[in-house]
């Protein structure tokens, strides 16, 4: 995969006078769903605005599918941005908003109308298409912004807190939409603080704190590289004491906690792979009856807690 197929952020820094926005950020984002996670003020929106060309980097270069961000007429053919700004031009209905800006993109009346309607259908907002946006609820405003961002069928969709204000049903629909777009080969870059949803939908995560990228990649891969935080694995079985005893014979086991019901244990290990091998052997040798085995802290939430923690600020 070449830079023509990726979003490339090359050693980018952004300072607002003396204040740091982001510093020395290097990213190479392939197609799929990538989530940007960090506490308030970490630099998420700054990074998204830099990628969208709304801000100019103090240092470094950014390209989106090979296109420099300094040429908006070419960049925004490929890119749609659903920003966090909850403001709309006065007096426009949802349909007029999307149609009007599609006309600005250079489309004919017929095409603009068709595509605007199609975008509203995608976000289930056709019933309110002819109502003024200022009369919309927070969730409807969020959906009309999303419709506007996808209306020209961009290959790169950047979304700043897109799930804010959506009810659970709408949230599920929007997540399904992101997954559909990603399956079609689009880049979907999402900033979100709803970690369990990020964990559920992301192919990759970027953790950012105080303007620095602290980790990026597949969440399991990121977790595996965090040697200073032994992996927690939950095992439900009929003889947890046997597993605990065998585990302590190994160097990688750090801690074992037995479940109160005596039907399982939680083990902290420096090598999950070695533990799984060992568990297989116990199952074969001791005829252990295993009900469930699951990693307990290789999700975004745990990685976030380990790398950023509560000191990083509120999510």
């Amino acid at each position: 995969m070449t830079d023509q197929d990726k979003i490339v952020v090359d050693n980018v820094s952004k300072f607002y006078g003396e204040v740091l926005g982001v510093n020395r950020v290097c990213l190479s984002i392939p197609p799929g769903i990538t989530s940007l996670v960090g506490p308030n003020g970490a630099g998420k929106t700054t990074l998204l605005n830099l990628i969208c060309g709304l801000l100019r980097p103090t240092k470094g270069k950014i390209s989106v599918l090979g296109q420099t961000v300094n040429e908006p007429d070419l960049l925004y053919r490929k890119l749609g941005y659903c920003s966090q700004f909850d403001a709309f031009p006065r007096g426009l209905t949802g349909l007029e908003l999307i149609y009007g800006y599609l006309k600005v993109y250079g489309l004919s009346d017929r095409e603009a109308h068709q595509m605007a309607w199609s975008a509203l259908e995608t976000v289930n907002l056709t019933d309110a298409a002819n109502r003024r946006v200022h009369a919309y609820s927070k969730g409807m405003r969020q959906r009309v912004k999303l419709a506007q961002a996808i209306s020209h069928r961009p290959q790169v969709l950047i979304l700043d807190e897109p799930l804010n204000g959506l009810d659970p049903m709408a949230r599920a629909e929007v997540i399904a939409l992101f997954q559909r777009l990603a399956a079609d080969g689009a880049h979907v870059l999402i900033s979100s603080h709803i970690l369990h949803e990020v964990d559920m939908i992301s192919d990759r995560v970027i953790l950012i704190n105080n303007g620095y990228v602290v980790a990026e990649g597949n969440i399991r891969g990121v977790r595996d590289e965090m040697d200073e935080h032994p992996m927690q694995i939950m095992v439900r079985c009929d003889r947890p004491a046997a597993v605990a005893a065998k585990a302590f014979e190994q160097d990688h086991a750090v801690e074992v906690k037995m479940h109160e019901d005596g039907q399982g244990l939680m083990i902290r290990t420096r090598s999950a792979d070695q533990f799984y091998l060992m568990l297989n052997r116990i199952v074969l040798d001791c005829n252990l009856n295993v009900e469930a085995v699951a990693p307990a802290d290789d999700d975004v939430y745990s990685v976030y807690q380990y790398l950023i923690g509560t000191d990083g600020g509120r999510l």
Binding site: Y16, G100, V104
Partner: protein, 285 residues
Amino acid sequence: MITSFLDRLTEGGSPWSVWLRQTLAIMGLETKKSFLGRRLIAVYFLALAPVAVLVIRIMVPLRPEELGTPGEAGMVFAVVFQTFVLRFSVFFGCMSIFTNLFRREVMEKTLHFYLLSPVKREVLVVGKYFSGLIASLVFFVGSTIACFLLVYVPYGNKFMEDFFLEGVGTQQLLTYASVTTMACVGYGAVFLLIGLYFRNPIFPAGLLLGWETINFLLPSFLQKISVVHYLQSLCPVPLPLGPLAIITEPTSAWVSVPGFLGLTILVILASALQVSRLEVTYGAD
């Protein structure tokens, strides 16, 4: 290279047709904003106040000696036009319309809708400038034409027919309308630029107003660095400027009009340059 749905817009064709469509679309979105809104009350007042005064003058019956001659009426119009309309009404009207073309959207946090569109920033500036220009022309050329006609209404239909169909009335009317158009073109470009460079345009606008007001007292070469000098040169009825004025040879229309338009284009290009560097930092505004 991955191609996008919108790439076909410019495939095999001239980009000018796309730019033209985009300019017209921007003007379409801006038109409503240019004529509606509380912010425009002052502009409506500036455009309609002289019309209202002249309508009242028609409604109050005057004796012939109070009315004066049509020549005197033409002189009164010339004074009102060059002092109130050009230096006050069009000046402040254009200030209100053009400085807000971008500033209003920054204040309302809606500018990103344009900045996130696949539009050259230069096209955006031109589209917004023309939408402001159309609004200012409707307000102030309309007001100028209405005022010029209303000045002569008290002299009766017979006089109006002779003056406009056989006399110099139509020519003067078109000249005044053209001067107002030029004023909107020039002040519009200047205020567009001021609105982009200054968070509060009042201070630079005040300086500009002062410069334009004392223009007739300045040495000839400085008089030529102003909008009003060229506009006054084009007016059909010259005004006496008083004993302190430094008399400067009026610039010929063949020089002043192309020069004025050329300078306007340069100012619009400077605005485009500023917009091309624009960042969205609503929080800082």
